[in-house]
């Protein structure tokens, strides 16, 4: 690049166009900047930068005549090669701009007092590196979840999915409660977003119940436990609910999350109603939650069942972007989300032993399912476009 021949635009140092004389006019001389004498090579190198007005300074002209034009005059083209050595290190994005970008990103993450927040974050990070943190019986690390996980997910919830929340006051402010939600989106992004929304609305941590596959997969399992999840089994659900936690459950499971796009917003089977009997035994309210928007983030148009069986997972999704665009296909589509927390269904007024009455359990299960389905339909009618 350095040797690229550059054909300068202009009169190559000769006086202005049409004057016919080799001497610059007085007007041109006045325009010229401070006179300077450059070594011949340098003079040539600077040629493209130099405006004709620059080079019409008498000294520059003599310099140029000394080296450039006369030497190159021998060449057929009559133009000397002009090197671009000095242009090589492009300035790039100025440091100031980088700094501004980092600052605005930090403000986005931690708000206006980001410097203090960042300092606190680094301090806690350092402390954590020495193993100085605590987890609860389920392996939940509240500090980690609040400072790292929720901080990363919050901008996604606010800016990417632009989640609109309704009925947040239906979430109990204290005591055990069971949030039951529809499940969709191929990847359980809806569970993570529900966690963010619940924490932002009430300051409480959502404790999700996950399928045993979650706890069999490396990395996923340790992240799930650290962010408050535990296995979806009666023992853990009852233990958490009686411990006064806000537990989240997605009874459709893989049937809901891995359903094809054509079946969007149609609730699948609600399991065996284990979540209802757990709520009945502990007497906590059931809060139905309907999430609209998560179906569109990874529209599943196909499945790779053979590969899924080999890897031991329930499905491998094919979306319009996923295997096609490689990792880029993992970026969720920015659909607009609506979340509606419904009126809590009380279970503490039922008589003792209600949890052992299968008919009653099925009735309540159906009631929860029906509530979620109805509010899904009404939210869908309300939503103008998928990405609106």
């Amino acid at each position: 690049m350095a040797d690229a021949e550059i054909i300068p635009i202009g009169t190559r140092g000769r006086p202005g166009r049409g004057s016919g004389s080799m001497r610059p006019s007085s007007a041109a001389r006045d325009l010229a900047s401070a006179p300077r004498r450059t070594p011949s090579g340098k003079g040539d190198a600077r040629a493209p930068e130099a405006r004709p007005t620059d080079e019409v300074a008498p000294e520059a002209v003599t310099g140029a005549e000394d080296a450039g034009p006369e030497e190159s005059g021998a060449e057929e083209s009559g133009r000397g090669p002009v090197t671009t050595e000095d242009r090589a290190p492009l300035p790039g994005i100025p440091v100031g701009d980088w700094w501004a970008a980092i600052q605005s990103a930090a403000k986005e993450l931690w708000g206006h007092d980001w410097e203090g927040a960042l300092a606190a974050l680094l301090a806690s990070w350092r402390r954590r590196l020495e193993g100085d943190f605590t987890v609860d019986d389920y392996g939940f690390d509240a500090e980690f979840t609040q400072q790292f996980v929720l901080a990363v997910l919050r901008p996604i919830a606010d800016k990417w999915f632009r989640i609109e929340v309704r009925g947040a006051d239906n979430i109990p402010e204290d005591g055990g409660a069971l949030i039951v939600s529809n499940h969709s989106g191929t990847v359980p992004v809806d569970a993570m977003m529900t966690g963010v929304v619940v924490h932002d609305q009430t300051g409480r941590f959502l404790r999700p119940l996950g399928a045993d596959l979650v706890f069999r997969l490396p990395i996923v399992s340790s992240m799930a436990r650290r962010t408050g999840a535990t296995l979806a089994c009666n023992e853990d659900a009852e233990r958490m609910l009686s411990g006064g936690e806000l537990v989240g459950v997605w009874p459709e499971g893989f049937k809901g999350i891995g359903k094809p796009y054509s079946e969007r917003y149609r609730l699948q089977r609600f399991g065996r109603g284990g979540f209802v009997s757990a709520a009945m035994r502990t007497g906590v309210p059931i809060v139905p939650l309907s999430v609209v928007g998560a179906e569109e983030i990874y529209p599943m148009i196909g499945n790779l069942p053979v590969l899924a069986r080999i890897l031991g997972v329930p499905y491998i999704p094919v979306t319009p972007t996923f295997p096609l665009l490689g990792p880029l296909g993992l970026v969720p589509l920015p659909s607009k989300w609506l979340m509606e927390f419904g009126e809590p269904i009380r279970t503490d007024e039922l008589e003792d032993g209600a949890a052992d009455d299968p008919m009653l359990v099925f009735d309540v299960t159906d009631q929860v399912r029906e509530t979620i389905q109805q509010s899904l339909f009404s939210l869908l009618r309300e939503r103008r476009t998928v990405f609106g």
């Binding site: 954590r128 605590t134 987890v135 596959l213 996923v220 399992s221 340790s222």
Partner: protein, 331 residues
């Protein structure tokens, strides 16, 4: 009270230390230690009887010494120290059977305390977060220490049915840890580089050795009976433990950790059993509500404190001396 306590498995460090502490306890009259090989180190006021619990001789010891309480601590977790898996199984299972047979014939026996372990619950991805005493492993153990313990517990339950007049206390202890404990778990943490299962961060529970002695003494001197989980409060993560030790860790895929464990086992550096690999992958938690409410025992160390104490014991004393010397020089 006037108790005569027979303790099995006193040749190993925990058994010997417990027997010594029990002998020093005023509530206990006499402590008789039994094992195949004599214990190394201070045995205090304990009287040692060299007898093999796999042999009917043990019945004579119980009858002759008028033993009213038997503390069975001779369930071993490591085939290495016993001289092979075959011997280990024989010591554990046949030894327990013989001991229980002898106990059944001893009319004066009032109390049997068995130190079992949380290993009976196994460890898998389908486990509940906390095991209570009524829960069973999701998958029955097929080999090794876990199977031994499972069978031993079965025999103990059978004994409890046949001798309802004897109070039977079964203590399912979390991994015992402490400066003097040598177990698969402690030798794992003593490795210079700690291999971990990639992508898993198990929850671990520990019981400090002092609390183990405490709970055993508590069960010997109190009237309660039943099966109890015994562990320090709270859980900690393996990553946390590794960071507290300040050692490097090496995350490997699960089969590679198993292979490494086999290799280390052959060099006798570490007994790395399949059930330990399961614990280091999925972790295990035990609910200790009953230990508090029914047994009435409060551990003095939490899980985290027990591990901190262990980690302090691991630091080479030279560096501490050097630090002190430095402080002294500066001061």
């Amino acid at each position: 009270m006037g108790r005569v306590v027979l303790v099995t498995g006193v040749s190993r460090d925990l058994g010997r230390r417990f027997a010594r502490e029990a002998a020093a306890d005023p509530a206990i009259d006499r402590v008789i230690g039994v094992d195949v090989v004599p214990p190394h180190g201070d045995i205090g006021e304990m009287s040692f009887v060299r007898a093999d619990i796999r042999n009917p001789v043990i019945a004579k010891v119980i009858a002759k010494e008028d033993v009213d309480t038997v503390v069975h601590m001779s369930v071993i977790a490591t085939p290495g120290s016993a001289g092979g898996r075959g011997t280990m199984k024989e010591l554990n299972v046949i030894g327990t059977m013989q001991l229980l047979a002898a106990c059944q014939r001893a009319p004066g026996l009032e109390h049997l305390v068995v130190k079992s372990t949380g290993t009976v619950y196994g460890a898998s991805s389908r486990d509940p977060a906390m095991f209570t005493e009524d829960m069973h492993p999701k998958k029955l153990p097929r080999s090794g220490y876990a199977k031994d313990v499972y069978e031993i517990e079965g025999y103990v339950r059978g004994f409890a049915r046949r001798r309802p007049d004897v109070r039977v206390t079964m203590l399912r202890c979390a991994n015992v840890i402490g400066p003097h404990v040598s177990s698969p778990m402690t030798s794992y943490f003593k490795l210079p580089v700690i291999p971990r299962v990639l992508g898993f961060d198990p929850r671990l529970q520990f019981l400090h050795q002092d609390d183990l002695f405490g709970v055993l003494k508590h069960s010997v001197t109190h009237e309660q009976q039943g099966t109890f989980n015994v562990a320090g409060d709270g859980v900690m993560l393996l990553s946390q433990a590794v960071r507290m030790l300040g050692k490097p860790s090496l995350p490997l895929p699960s089969p590679a950790v198993g292979g490494l464990g086999q290799a280390l086992r052959s060099t006798r550096m570490l007994d790395f059993s399949p059930e330990q690999l399961a614990v280091l992958t999925f972790g295990r938690g035990m609910d200790t509500t009953r230990m508090r409410s029914e047994l009435g025992f409060e551990p003095t160390y939490t899980t985290l404190e027990a591990f901190t104490d262990f980690a302090h014991g691991l630091r080479p004393p030279e560096t501490e001396d050097a630090d002190e010397a430095e402080v002294a020089a500066r001061g």
